[in-house]
C-alpha cells in the first residue's frame, strides 16, 4: 500500500483542491495539468508499456477535439457524442498506425506517425467545407452538463479527474495483468516473446488503439473546455512531443509518471506564460530550452524520470 502513497496523494489533492481553492487561474492550471497528464498517460500506454514510441499522437488528440467541436457546431448534438465518436475514429486510426508498427521499427515508425498527424493537419486545415479550414472552429458554449457547457472550473476539475483516474488505472492494469506481462515481454524483446507464444502483433495494435482512444477523449474534453479548435495546434508535432515529454520526464512506463511530468511541465509553462505573455512572449521559449536539455540528459542518465526518485528499481 505504501507504494501507492504518491499516487493517492496526487489524486486526493487534485480532488480536494476545488473545495478549498477559489482562484480561477489556479483551477485552470489544475485542469490543464490533469488534461495533459491524461494525454501523456495515454501516450505512455503505447510508448511506455508497449514500447511503441510515436510522435504523431496529436493525430488522435485532434480527432477527438474536432469530433467534439463538430458535434456542437455542425451536427447540433451533445459533445459527449463527440467524445464517443472521437474515441471510435481514433481507435480506427490507431489500428492503422498499429499495423504500421508491425512493419516498421524504431525511428522509421516515428517518422510514419509524424506523417499521419501531418496528413490530418493538412486535411483539417484545407477542408473548408467540413472543418472551416485553417481558421479553426470556435466551440459553442451552451450551458448545461449534457452539452458540456460548464462555466464552473471546479466541475471541470472533477470531470477531468475522472478521466485521469481511468487512465491511471488502465496503466496499473497493464502492470499486473496477463496482457500487461505479455506486452512488457514484447517491449523487451519481441522475438523472444513470440517464441513463448505471445501474440505480439495483436498486442501492439491493441495498445496503440487504446492509447489512441484515450488521447481522443482528452482532445474532446479539452476542446470543450478551451472553446476553440485550431488545426495548426491540435494536430501539431509540438503537441505530440509534449505528450511524450511529460511522460518521459515523469517516468516512462510508470502509471503515475505522466501525471507527475505534466505537473512539472504545465505549472512552469503556465506560470511563465503569465509572467512573460505579450511583449516578451518569445521568452516563454526559455523553459522549453530547459526542458529540451532536461530531456537530452534524462533520457541518457536518468531514464526512470521523476518516479526514479520515489522508487529505486
Amino acid at each position: 500500500m505504501k507504494a501507492y502513497a504518491p499516487a493517492l496523494a496526487f489524486f486526493a489533492a487534485a480532488g480536494l483542491a476545488p473545495l478549498v481553492v477559489d482562484d480561477a487561474f489556479l483551477l485552470d492550471t489544475l485542469v490543464l495539468i490533469l488534461v495533459w497528464g491524461c494525454a501523456a498517460g495515454a501516450w505512455n500506454i503505447a510508448g511506455g508499456y508497449a514500447g511503441q514510441i510515436s510522435l504523431g499522437h496529436s493525430a488522435f488528440f485532434g480527432l477527438g477535439a474536432y469530433a467534439a467541436a463538430l458535434c456542437g457546431v455542425r451536427w447540433n448534438i451533445s459533445p459527449w457524442y463527440g467524445v464517443a465518436i472521437g474515441a471510435a475514429v481514433a481507435t480506427a486510426a490507431g489500428t492503422v498506425i498499429g499495423f504500421l508498427a508491425n512493419r516498421l521499427r524504431g525511428p522509421y515508425f516515428v517518422i510514419a506517425t509524424i506523417a499521419v498527424s501531418q496528413v490530418l493537419l493538412l486535411g483539417a486545415a484545407r477542408w473548408r467545407g467540413f472543418t472551416a479550414g485553417s481558421e479553426g472552429i470556435p466551440v459553442p458554449f451552451r450551458a448545461g452538463f449534457w452539452t458540456l457547457g460548464i462555466a464552473d472550473k471546479r466541475i471541470w476539475v472533477w470531470i477531468v479527474l475522472g478521466l485521469a483516474l481511468a487512465v491511471y488505472l488502465s496503466q496499473l492494469y497493464l502492470e499486473r495483468s496477463r496482457r500487461g506481462f505479455q506486452l512488457a515481454a514484447v517491449r523487451e524483446d519481441e522475438d523472444a516473446a513470440l517464441s513463448l507464444g505471445v501474440r505480439a502483433r495483436r498486442l501492439k495494435v491493441a495498445a496503440i488503439a487504446a492509447s489512441a482512444a484515450f488521447t481522443a477523449v482528452c482532445g474532446a474534453l479539452w476542446a470543450q473546455y478551451v472553446g476553440f479548435v485550431d488545426p495548426l495546434y491540435v494536430f501539431s508535432v509540438d503537441l505530440s512531443v509534449r505528450f511524450s515529454l511529460a511522460a518521459i520526464i515523469g517516468g516512462l512506463g510508470t502509471a503515475l509518471g505522466p501525471f507527475l511530468g505534466s505537473l512539472l511541465v504545465t505549472t512552469v509553462e503556465t506560470w511563465l506564460r503569465a509572467e512573460f505573455g505579450g511583449l516578451g512572449s518569445h521568452l516563454v521559449g526559455l523553459y522549453l530550452i530547459l526542458y529540451g536539455s532536461a530531456l537530452i540528459l534524462m533520457v541518457r542518465y536518468a531514464p526512470q524520470g521523476l518516479m526514479g526518485f520515489f522508487y529505486r528499481r
Partner: protein
C-alpha cells in the same frame, strides 16, 4: 550511422538564419555566405556530436530518438528566444528574377539551389563511393564491430559522418533562405520531406533518396496542377504512407531492412 536526427530541420533553420544575419548585418550575398557556411556547420556538427551525440551513440533507438528530439526543442526555442517568432526575409536583388528554360520559367534562386544541390549530392556520392574515408564510413555503417577490428576509429568516423550531414543541411538552409521565409519552426516542413525521401528511397541508399525526392517533387507539382495547390502535401504524405504499407523497405532498400530498425 543508423541514427535518425530529429533535429535535422533545426540545423537547416540555423543555416537560414545564418544567411539572413550575414545578409542583414554584413550585406553578404547568400551564395557568399555559403562558402563560409560549409566549414562553419562542419564545426557546429563536430561540436554537437561531441557534446550531445557521442554519449548516446551506443544506446537504444528510443534514447537516440529523444536525444535528437530534445536537441530539436532546444534549438527551435533558442532561435525563438534570440530572434523572436517574426518571419524574416532575405530579399536579395535578384529575388524575383527568373530564367527561361525551354518553355518553362524558373525562379533564379530556386534554379541555382537545385543545381548546387544536385552537384553537392553527386560530390557526396562520389566521396562515399570512391574516397578512402568514404569507404571507411560505409564499412562502419555496415558492421561497426568488424570495422573496429580493422583498426577503424569508429568514434571519429561517426563524428565525421554526423558533421558532414550537418554541413550539408546547413548549406541547404543558406540556399533556401532567399526563397522561403525564415522563422524558428521553419525546419519542420523541409525535414519531413527529407525523412520521407530517405525512407521512400530506401534506408542507406543515397541515390535512392535522390530519386525519391524527385518523385516527391513530381507528385507535388503534378498534384498541385490537378487537384489544387492546397492538397499537394497531403498527396505525397499519403503516397508515403501507402508505400510504407506495401513496401516498407522503400523503393530501393533491401527487403527486411526496415524491421531491423536501423
Amino acid at each position: 550511422m543508423r541514427v535518425v536526427n530529429f533535429a535535422h530541420g533545426e540545423f537547416l533553420m540555423l543555416g537560414m538564419y545564418a544567411a539572413f544575419w550575414a545578409f542583414t548585418l554584413l550585406h553578404a550575398d547568400p551564395y557568399l555566405t555559403l562558402v563560409i557556411a560549409v566549414p562553419l556547420f562542419l564545426a557546429v556538427g563536430w561540436a554537437s556530436y561531441a557534446l550531445i551525440m557521442r554519449p548516446v551513440v551506443h544506446t537504444s533507438h528510443n534514447v537516440q530518438v529523444f536525444t535528437t528530439v530534445g536537441l530539436s526543442i532546444v534549438l527551435q526555442n533558442l532561435a525563438l528566444v534570440l530572434w523572436t517568432a517574426d518571419a524574416r526575409f532575405v530579399r536579395t536583388s535578384y529575388y524575383a528574377s527568373v530564367i527561361s528554360f525551354g518553355g518553362a520559367v524558373l525562379n533564379l534562386a530556386q534554379a541555382v539551389a537545385f543545381v548546387l544541390a544536385v552537384a553537392a549530392t553527386a560530390a557526396l556520392f562520389a566521396f562515399m563511393r570512391f574516397s578512402y574515408t568514404g569507404k571507411l564510413m560505409r564499412a562502419t555503417a555496415q558492421d561497426r564491430s568488424a570495422a573496429m577490428l580493422m583498426g577503424i576509429d569508429t568514434g571519429r568516423i561517426y563524428a565525421l559522418t554526423w558533421s558532414v550531414g550537418i554541413a550539408c543541411v546547413g548549406a541547404a538552409g543558406v540556399l533556401l533562405a532567399p526563397i522561403y521565409p525564415v522563422y524558428p519552426t521553419a525546419g519542420l516542413q523541409f525535414v519531413l520531406i527529407a525523412y520521407i525521401a530517405v525512407v521512400l528511397g530506401g534506408l542507406g541508399d543515397m541515390a535512392g533518396a535522390l530519386v525519391a525526392a524527385l518523385i516527391i517533387a513530381t507528385v507535388e507539382v503534378v498534384g498541385s496542377y490537378t487537384i489544387g495547390t492546397s492538397w499537394k502535401e497531403v498527396l505525397y504524405l499519403l503516397l508515403f504512407i501507402a508505400i510504407l504499407v506495401v513496401r516498407p523497405a522503400g523503393l530501393f532498400g533491401q527487403r527486411g531492412s526496415e524491421t531491423l530498425g536501423v
